[in-house]
């Protein structure tokens, strides 16, 4: 069946097995392509398109080249941030009938915790934003707010998996893996899917959140650090200089080439030789990407570098921009890590928790949007903000302001990358307890992200376990058309 053999005489699956793809491997592909490694199309354009390693053409003209996902881990309270609920003013402490479902289970009644921050109107669109985000509020004309988000689970473990991979069960590839699988990556020397964690620790389920699931591990997210060695095992041990490593690589290469010369026709051997050269290049380029010494003082100040509250997130936001400039497709930044009040999971003291996390991110996120915009990058960079769910309008405990989880309705926002600014889609009820107008599901968000990157969410599929698996599931899902410019 010649028709099945499109990849230099292999089947698609074999080709993937033998060569891998994604992190570095795409780079490998282009490196090898220079060597004439990949055969030219035998018939028409079919064979060229079928090469899974090269930067792949999108399904249609993309509006965004990269996506930065600012993950507010723990679940920010929507009614205290962007979902203005004036009718709740004055209701603090009142017991109301409202259906909620959080880690405390299902309840039908609760004590209202009135939003703890004042709201003001901002921008030409007149968007109401709480005092938690005075800087970000100045960007509302670039932002599309999604007020009617819903998810399948109000429990961190499964909800994190859902926001990252579209399913409440682990084992499926993360959004960034899908993007790398769909588009390949343009930069030879950096991973295509980068994750930057909070200094307090990873999110619960750790690496499951950026796993490539049933796809090859080459599509998985790479954890990038802003301090120390940016990538695991990137740097040679102390005492091994770059020139020493070059000598070692030369010896490896010399011996491996002799080995290969006795084994014509086994492409894996030359691919492996090339992979060492790529590793060597990455050692040079990855540290450069996270090095902020060439950033101007004005830029550092804009983001809030050196202000102890914002320093860490500011640095990571600048790195995110630098990665975008270097062609990295998908960058995920975690605000918050570990447990309890190290992230947005405000079960105890809502005010202290949100003041802390909004305070750490407001200025850096606003700066990121402004910086991208003035550099002409916002048009091609999709920025997504949100957590795995929102929070309830009522109190979790008899006393205090803590709110339990809420997956019935919450807010996320998108900006740049062809997204219309200054608009809001959907609405929750007057307490913010559930989406009532134009309910949106996580899969609509995923569909929109893929769509902006030029991928048809209903077409991007990976054959596994007898099925054409898709990020958005088997049933047709429309992107959120209202926000697409």
């Amino acid at each position: 069946m010649p028709a099945r053999r499109d990849f230099c005489g292999r089947t698609r699956r074999e080709f993937l097995w033998q060569t891998g793809a994604g992190f570095g491997a795409v780079a490998l592909a282009s490196l090898l392509e220079e060597d004439g490694f990949f055969c030219k199309p035998a018939r028409g354009a079919e064979a060229v398109q079928a090469n899974p390693l090269a930067e792949k053409p999108p399904h249609f003209a993309p509006q965004a080249k990269s996506v930065i996902f600012l993950f507010m881990y723990g679940g920010p309270s929507h009614i205290d941030t962007f979902d203005y609920k004036p009718s709740m003013i004055g209701m603090d402490g009142k017991t109301v009938n409202v259906k909620t479902f959080g880690r405390g289970g299902h309840r039908n009644q609760g004590r209202i915790v009135e939003p703890r921050w004042k709201f003001q109107r901002y921008g030409q669109c007149g968007k109401w934003v709480s005092d938690l985000f005075p800087n970000l509020a100045t960007c509302v004309d670039d932002i599309a707010f999604l007020h009617s988000m819903t998810a399948d689970s109000p429990i961190h473990g499964s909800a994190m998996l859902m926001m990252n991979s579209g399913r409440i069960l682990s084992g499926a590839p993360a959004l960034g893996s899908w993007v790398n699988y769909g588009l390949g990556t343009v930069n030879q020397n950096l991973p295509g899917f980068v994750v930057m964690l909070d200094p307090t620790g990873g999110p619960i389920s750790g690496a499951k959140n950026w796993s490539s699931g049933y796809m090859p591990a080459t599509y998985q997210g790479t954890v990038l650090r802003s301090e120390g060695s940016p990538i695991l095992d990137l740097q040679p041990p102390l005492g091994t200089t770059r020139r020493v490593q070059r000598e070692m690589l030369d010896s490896i290469s010399a011996i491996n080439r002799r080995h290969m010369d006795a084994r014509h026709g086994d492409d894996a051997l030359s691919a492996r030789i090339a992979s060492y050269e790529l590793a060597y290049k990455m050692q040079q380029h990855a540290p450069e990407a996270v090095d902020l010494s060439t950033e101007s003082q004005e830029t550092l100040d804009l983001y809030g570098v050196h202000d102890p509250r914002t320093d860490d997130f500011a640095r990571r936001c600048i790195i995110a921009r630098r990665l975008v400039e270097r062609g990295v497709r998908c960058i995920q930044l975690y605000s918050g890590g570990a447990h309890n009040d190290d992230n947005w999971d405000a079960h105890g003291d809502l005010e202290a928790n949100h003041n802390k996390h909004a305070g750490a991110t407001d200025r850096p996120v606003a700066a990121l949007l402004k910086d991208l915009k003035r550099r002409g990058l916002l048009d091609s960079t999709l920025v997504v903000w949100g957590g795995e769910f929102g929070r309830q309008p009522t109190a979790e405990y008899a006393k205090g302001t803590g709110r339990d989880h809420n997956a019935y309705g919450f807010t996320m926002w998108m900006a740049g990358g062809g997204i219309k600014g200054g608009i809001s889609v959907g609405a929750t009820d007057e307490l913010g307890s559930a989406a009532v107008e134009r309910p949106l599901h996580v899969k609509h968000l995923h569909a929109t992200i893929l769509h902006q990157l030029g991928l048809d969410p209903n077409r991007l599929s990976y054959f596994y376990s007898g099925l054409d698996q898709k990020l958005v599931g088997v049933e047709h899902v429309e992107p959120i058309r209202e926000v697409i410019g």
């Binding site: 097995w17 004439g36 000598e247």
Partner: protein
């Protein structure tokens, strides 16, 4: 220049492809094979609208009768023997976008159209998909070069090669073959001394002796168990937020190792895993085997408990059907299978067979359902104490809870974390009554006594498995759209109709039995000599690991969407041999290993590659990369540090702080193991779902959440970074240096030679020795490295060579 080689090779492929255009099925050009070639194409491109699910136009491509008569349009889709009159061909060839079929995706290729044309011209006969027919015992094909044959396998391989005008590659030279069989059977490379010893006076008889020796080595089970663990989604934790450990999961791993080493008949091996608690006799071993059911994901805090329950059953049905039957029955959870003749009824009937399996646990009792006591008497004494403990704890919690609700919110919040004990110690008295506080203190003392008593008891001996099952399972319904909240018609236990169907006879289950007997029936059906999928699926897995790909390249999917077998008759031959040999797997290993096919050299041959670039016909052995475990174990063998202790609890290699930082509680669930334990084989590394070990992951250790049919074999710079820079590799390079110093003294050339020899198991090439010696000089003279540093770098270089990483 490799570049030039590739240009030439690609040019060659282009020419070859050109010559093939329009030709149908170059492997057997004489006739079109409906089941292997036509049906998969129809399934892929036509079934969506004209198939089991939908019949637009009134016809379906899985039913010939509807195709050879007038369709709703008045045209006849297929006129057997007359391609020109067949509307199907006109439509797929049409240049008009609005007419051309299929309407979505790319038009069919010329070769595909030619295939359909040839098929229609030949009468458009339907034959049943190869895998959906019983195994047939084929006669050994006639071959010209009978002198090449070592086993029945070879006749099937050689016949096809001769048909295509190809010659098999010569037998690999002794040293190469010795290294290959060591790695393939035990997973470990031979020492250079072993290679020399076995290669001495090399003969066929000596090779056979080597194979038998290695098959009897316990390392065989350690290596091959990993194959099965991949397939049954083996991991030792539950995933999700807590990713809690599954106690005693390692005993299941040891069960697999021991079963393979003891050459347990494969059908018995399956029986024990499916119904080890229902067999006669039930043994500690067979109970351990039921750990099979407990290896999957488990969410201790599901948002939708009913859905989670059925996700649990789905995990089991999926694993059984893919791992043991090569069927993707999971595709029929929400609707009938879109491609294969598997219905939703089949899915839920299979689910009914395992309906007595209880969930892994509940959050308040994470062991009761899954920890089996092997010594019931000791268990009872423990149980009695636990009961007393529970009553006291409940009372304590009641007192605590009543106090906590009166505390300020920050204190309440603190009681949910590690601070709980402190808060209670400091504040409980203040928020409770005096009387209750006194009771609280008294209960605390009683609890201490119970704990002390518990410590005095002999430990419970428990294994992971089916500790509790439902003797009278809940009814099973077909779930509409797979939604557990929309039950449809009730179904009983039954086997897929595709494989002959039938329902188990459960009349023999006595009143008051511990379990329903359904799994026993399922096990017997799976393990029956007449089940034609079970033996095919396992022999294909063996083949995969000896040749780098299965006879069926999709080992978990023998259905229409899977890859057709390149040698269907050979597959059936092996399947019948397995059953004939009373399901002995070692006999099958031996048969494959002794074949001339396995023993071929992996040398490239341009002429053969031009005819068969994918090596579909096996004109040579495939060059294969080591698996993740083989890489790590092989490094340990070379450095001399491998600890070959068999079995026991899993160990934890040291992970760097940056790796642990990816956890929400860095270090949580990851233990400390002694250096000696850390030097054990990779199969003993604790498998934690949310914390993959980087060195293994980068070399394609699989995702453990679902069955892995065949590992990816990627090549990526992360591997180079790990092999050059990781702390573990640095340590191993240092150990290798110590070893060569010990064995060769300080002579650099001798060290270099020994290094290469230890890493590749084979006598080194002089030029490679010179390269390493030269490297040491360059590093010392040009870069100021100390002699020791330079020699350690040499060792690290040796461990990075392709001659280490690949099996010829």
């Amino acid at each position: 220049m490799p570049g030039r080689i590739f240009v030439l090779r690609c040019l060659f492929l282009v020419l070859y492809a050109g010559a093939q255009a329009g030709q149908v099925g170059f492997l057997s050009a004489q006739e079109v094979d409906f089941a292997q070639e036509v049906q998969p194409l129809l399934a892929r491109r036509c079934y969506a609208c004209h198939g089991p699910d939908q019949q637009e136009g009134g016809f379906r491509f899985d039913d010939r009768d509807t195709l050879v008569v007038e369709a709703d349009s008045g045209e006849v889709p297929i006129v057997p023997g007359d391609p020109g009159a067949s509307e199907l061909l006109r439509r797929i060839r049409s240049d008009d976008d609005s007419e051309r079929m299929p309407p979505e995706g790319k038009p069919l290729t010329e070769a595909e159209v030619a295939l359909l044309e040839a098929w229609i011209a030949g009468g458009a006969e339907f034959t049943r998909h190869w895998a959906f027919q019983p195994v047939q015992r084929h006669r050994l094909p006639q071959v010209r070069d009978v002198g090449w044959l070592h086993s029945g396998i070879d006749a099937f391989i050689l016949a096809r090669l001769e048909q295509a005008g190809l010659r098999p590659a010569p037998q690999a030279q002794a040293e190469v073959l010795i290294r290959r069989v060591f790695l393939d059977i035990t997973g470990l490379p031979p020492t250079p001394e072993q290679v020399v010893e076995w290669a001495d006076r090399w003969s066929d008889a000596k090779y056979q002796r080597l194979v038998d020796t290695l098959l009897a080595d316990p390392a065989f089970g350690e290596h091959w168990a990993r194959m099965w663990l991949d397939v049954v989604r083996y991991a030792e934790t539950n995933s999700f937020e807590r990713d809690g450990a599954k106690p005693n999961a390692w005993k299941y791993r040891d069960y697999v190792i021991n079963s393979f080493n003891a050459d347990k008949p494969y059908n018995q091996f399956l029986r024990e895993q499916i119904a080890g608690d229902e067999l006669q006799p039930v043994t500690p071993e067979s109970l351990t085997a039921t750990g099979f059911y407990r290896l999957g994901l488990w969410d201790d805090e599901p948002a939708d408990p009913l859905l989670a329950e059925f996700d649990g059953y789905d995990d089991i049905v999926t694993t059984i059907s893919q791992a043991m039957l090569g069927l993707t029955l999971n595709c029929a959870r929400c609707h009938d299978h879109k491609i294969d003749p598997l219905t939703q009824r089949d899915y839920y009937s299979m689910l009914a067979c395992v309906r007595d399996v209880t969930p892994y646990g509940v959050r308040s009792d994470q062991t009761g359902n899954n920890q089996i006591d092997l010594n019931p008497e000791v268990a009872q004494r423990h149980e009695a104490l636990a009961q007393r403990k529970k009553v006291i704890q409940r009372r304590l919690q009641h007192i605590e809870k009543n106090a906590i609700v009166k505390m300020p919110a920050p204190d309440q919040r603190a009681t949910e974390g590690p601070e709980r004990e402190r808060v209670l110690r400091e504040k409980l008295a203040e928020y409770t009554t005096e009387k209750l506080y006194a009771e609280y203190q008294q209960l605390k003392r009683e609890l201490e006594e119970i704990l002390a008593e518990q410590r005095r008891l002999p430990p419970r001996e428990t294994v992971l498995g089916l500790a509790k099952v439902d003797a009278v399972p809940k009814p099973t319904h077909i779930l509409l759209r797979g939604n557990p909240h929309s039950p449809g018609e009730e179904v009983g236990p039954a086997f897929p109709s595709l494989l002959g169907g039938g329902a188990p006879d459960l009349s023999a289950v006595p009143e008051g039995a511990r379990s329903s007997g359904r799994r026993r029936a399922l096990a017997d059906w799976l393990a029956d000599d007449r089940n034609w999928m079970t033996p095919r699926v396992i022999v294909n897995r063996l083949w995969l690991h000896y040749f780098g790909r299965g006879i069926v390249r999709s080992p978990n999917n023998f259905g229409l969407m899977g890859d057709p077998p390149t040698h269907p008759e050979l597959l059936d031959y092996l399947a019948t041999e397995l059953v004939r040999g009373d399901w002995s797997l070692k006999r099958m290993h031996r048969m494959i290993l002794l074949s001339a096919t396995y023993r071929m050299s992996s040398r490239f041959d341009a002429r053969a590659a031009a005819i068969d670039p994918q090596n579909d016909l096996f004109w040579r052995q495939n060059l294969r990369r080591l698996s993740a475990e083989q890489v790590r174990d092989g490094v340990l063998v070379a450095s001399g540090g491998l600890n070959s202790q068999l079995g026991g609890p899993s160990m934890f290699p040291t992970l760097s702080a940056e790796v642990l930082a990816s956890q929400s509680r860095p270090g949580n669930g990851w233990g400390n193991s002694s250096a000696a334990d850390q030097a054990r084989r990779s199969i003993y590394i604790h498998v934690k779902r949310s914390l993959p070990v980087p060195l293994l992951k980068v070399f394609d250790f699989p995702e453990t959440d679902t069955s892995c049919e065949a590992r990816f074999l990627t090549t990526q710079p992360g591997q180079a970074l790990s092999m050059l820079n990781s702390q573990w590799m640095q340590q191993q390079a240092a150990a290798l240096l110590e070893r060569v110093e010990r064995e060769c003294g300080l002579d650099l050339t001798a060290q270099a030679r020994r290094c290469l020899e230890l890493v590749t198991s084979l006598p080194p090439q002089a030029a490679d020795v010179d390269e390493l010696v030269d490297l040491v000089q360059r590093l010392k003279q040009g870069h100021g490295l100390s002699d020791r540093q330079a020699r350690q770098a040499m060792c690290l270089v040796a461990l990075n060579l392709n001659s280490f990483l690949y099996i010829d």
